[in-house]
Symmetry: C2
């Protein structure tokens, strides 16, 4: 990567930024820059400075300076992009941290939406809704409750509950463009439009997709749709004892999703994934990694997990409705899986961080704790896998919501991770009706020599293998190679990026 | 509009097109050009030639010539954009008609999708699915069965049934860009990607929105998602006797949509809209337009309609499920509306063009027949409102899915249309959970002197009034003024358009 700006440019820019947003919010000390440049795996790019504007106008001002002086920026919201690079930019850059924009700007319970800034976390939003005793809830991430609601949606994160396709349920983006100008998408571009927070497409070409998994602008506000709390919630928990039952289970779940029996994400977790949420690698038993098959079996038996495990969340508009849905699920899954049902709490205030919680909007750090799987110390109360040198890399690939494909992918991935000496943590998330989000974790300990390299090699192998077999990634991190597809498509994206960002402030070309 | 090409350019282009796709498929005779330049209201732009390429390669070749010689093109699929301009371009242009691309390329019943070309009509697709005895169905337009499945989705048309937000349920676009190059969107840009027809977003910025309600490319193929035929279908038909009951009904319907009781579009039709599907203006009774209030009342009473009418489609995964949904709907609507329930056919082959049909994928021309409302001759068996000089203009505006807003809009619109001497046909379509698509028809007879002008004046007044009150359009036609919003947003769209189409082949700037 060659520098586009002269050697003295960052300093000139830093002086301007200090004048604009205050000395206290332009961080340049080595310790902080090293923190911001540390992820859960080895990375090379350096953080040149760390800007913390207070509001949209300050974001615009910061971006204008970068545009003028040709300084590359890397926008982050809460910086919890663990497993995809945390706060680390894809190239040497100044981090533009919008976490101070943390207001809940608007909330409408009847119309079931909330408008927030990018610093608002899942925990903050859930607490707010609880405080106002709202009977609506947000889809929560499987990542950390400390993550940004907006950034996770823009990165096309998957969520629990009825609005799990998170990018599919946001609208009215406020975006700072690479030249510092501000635009609003959808109907929000019309002042006074009553449907700005209520409808996605607006009129004319729909641009929201340009600001998702891209670096074509900084989103400083968005509307997030919420789901009404159900009259009667029932959760089906299922497990299967062995691999051969997986395909039929997957096909049954697809049928339930297509028929609209559940609007929620249906997660399928293998045993390692399930275990990694409730425990750590059994170093205490003097077991040396990788985990022997017999120990794996014993651990899942002790925890009451099957080889594969999952839930189906049912949102009843009446008791009879919930009962009918329950019966449909029992019929669909009963032949292959052990299924248990439990009723959820009648009131949102009673929803807790148990199995039902995430399906009802309870923000939690259960999954994020799995970043400590291979650490020899216990999971701390405040998670910071970057600081704690947790080794953690996500691979996120799209797979048909089909039993045969699910088995193929799970077999390939488990074999490759085991060959590389890692426990294969595999989740297949039925966020939508026709595709599964295969989310694979490589967990290790960065404090051990050589592990960074070994994990990276394993990541690259799995990535290449899945792409080659027809399973491209649906989400990438700084560790990911640019997926190889049509060249003309890449050129189209580059042309659009160049039109918006001719100096490559947000995006290298 | 000034011409960008020299006077002899179209002739040079025409010679090249003839060589590329054959003389028989380059139409330049006055009669045909006049046909193509005729809509259901007065329009000015001229059609300079009419190209009918046979396949994607020929589309690319035609576009390349236009790009090279700077000839403006206007792509049409089936040209049934009645009420929005039919086949008429927004400026003098050569019509690029892709109706010969009419193959059903792929169909997968298990995964519930079909991949089609833009010439495939709703009728053709429904017939195909019936022929192969598929247990899945497509969302059908409220327009004509002869319309293009792809074009309607790209124009963000509303459909009946569970996938009524038609643009929200397509993926894997194949697009001919303004320079004639071909790209594929979503995962379709990766050769061999197993999820190309199964997931929308792909990886990286999502570009599909750029090719919707735009003229940034010609879509020559797309995947359309289908819904499984339900085990037990029940349709609730409701009506209310008077206006004051509308707000509570609207709010009840929003509650049903938000709670997921019905995945389908919930239509609300006023009496004129309902009558216009089953009858014509009562000229036979010597009634002179506009329709007197007493006759309107008598007509709706005779037809068994209420002041407002609608349906709620229920898709049961079991008998008990359908029964439970039915009870929820009865509870929600019973206080304000008369509600009747009927069971749908158990097998798709028995679904007919009755009230249930559209909710189960039966393509029909019932709504399209309403273009003949003010004609003094009966509706012909083959609808051609352009030829038959039907006067028909749509206004499509987004309104909150809220009782008070629905009443405000309906009152304003009815009063304005009546003041202008037209029967106010108003539909409020609950396609999604939070917004209503207000679809207003101005129907008249183009054979009467002065009616074109009167209708256009009425259109412009309603358009301005609704925009001013915070209800911008969600779909526009060649009659529509460019909606006035943020200038920087318009510039952003123009910048993107310029990057893709520097010579303005598809889009004037």
């Amino acid at each position: 990567m060659t520098w586009r700006y002269a050697a003295n440019m960052p300093e000139a820019a830093i002086a301007r930024w200090r004048a604009l947003i205050g000395d206290d919010h332009v961080w340049t000390d080595d310790a902080r820059l090293r923190d911001a440049g540390t992820a859960t795996f080895a990375t090379k790019p350096r953080v040149l400075a760390w800007l913390r504007p207070a509001n949209t106008a300050e974001v615009q001002a910061c971006v204008k300076v970068a545009h003028e002086l040709r300084v590359p920026l890397h926008p982050i919201s809460r910086g919890k992009n663990w497993g995809y690079g945390s706060r680390v930019p894809p190239r040497d850059a100044v981090v533009l941290d919008v976490s101070r924009l943390d207001r809940i700007v608007d909330f409408d319970e009847r119309m079931a939406y909330v408008t927030v800034e990018p610093g608002v976390t899942f925990r903050q939003l859930a607490t707010y809704l609880r405080t106002v005793r709202a009977r609506v809830f947000a889809s929560v991430t499987g990542g950390t409750a400390g993550g940004s609601v907006i950034a996770n949606a823009l990165e096309r994160g998957d969520g629990a509950g009825p609005l799990g396709d998170r990018f599919g349920h946001i609208c009215a983006l406020e975006v700072v463009l690479p030249d510092g100008a501000l635009v609003h998408t959808g109907f929000a571009r019309f002042p006074g439009a009553t449907t700005a927070p209520l409808a996605r497409w607006g009129v004319g070409p729909h641009l929201d997709g340009l600001f998702s998994q891209s670096a074509l602008g900084v989103v400083t506000r968005a509307t997030i749709w919420l789901a009404p709390y159900p009259r009667h919630f029932v959760m089906a928990s299922w497990s299967i004892a062995d691999e051969p039952r997986l395909p039929a289970t997957v096909n049954a779940l697809r049928g339930l999703k297509l028929a609209g029996v559940t609007p929620a994400t249906v997660p399928l977790w293998n045993d390692i994934k399930a275990l990694s949420l409730v425990t750590q690698y059994p170093f205490a038993d003097a077991t040396t990694p990788p985990l022997p098959a017999a120990v794996r079996q014993a651990m899942r038996d002790a925890a009451g997990f099957g080889r594969w495990n999952g839930t189906v969340s049912l949102y009843g508009a009446s008791r009879a409705h919930a009962d009918a849905l329950r019966e449909v699920v029992a019929d669909a899954l009963g032949a292959t899986a052990d299924v248990r049902f439990r009723e959820g709490p009648e009131h949102p205030l009673d929803a807790a961080e148990d199995d039902c919680g995430p399906s009802l909007g309870v923000a939690h750090d259960r999954s994020a704790a799995s970043t400590y799987w291979r650490k020899r110390r216990p999971v701390p109360s405040t998670l910071d896998p970057d600081r704690d040198r947790c080794g953690f890399i996500w691979l996120s690939h799209a797979v048909p919501f089909d039993g045969a494909h699910a088995s193929t992918v799970s077999d390939l991935v488990e074999a490759e991770l085991e060959r590389s000496g890692f426990e294969p943590s595999v989740a297949l998330l039925g966020v939508t009706e026709r595709a599964l989000s295969a989310v694979i974790a490589i967990a290790y300990d960065r404090e051990l020599d050589g592990e960074d390299d070994r994990a990276r090699t394993c990541h690259d192998r799995v990535h290449a293998m899945l792409c080659e077999r027809g399973y491209p990634p649906f989400r990438t991190g700084v560790q990911s190679p640019r997926p190889a597809g049509e060249q003309r498509y890449d050129q189209l994206v580059d042309d659009i990026a160049h039109a918006l960002d001719p100096h490559g402030i947000f995006r290298s070309r």
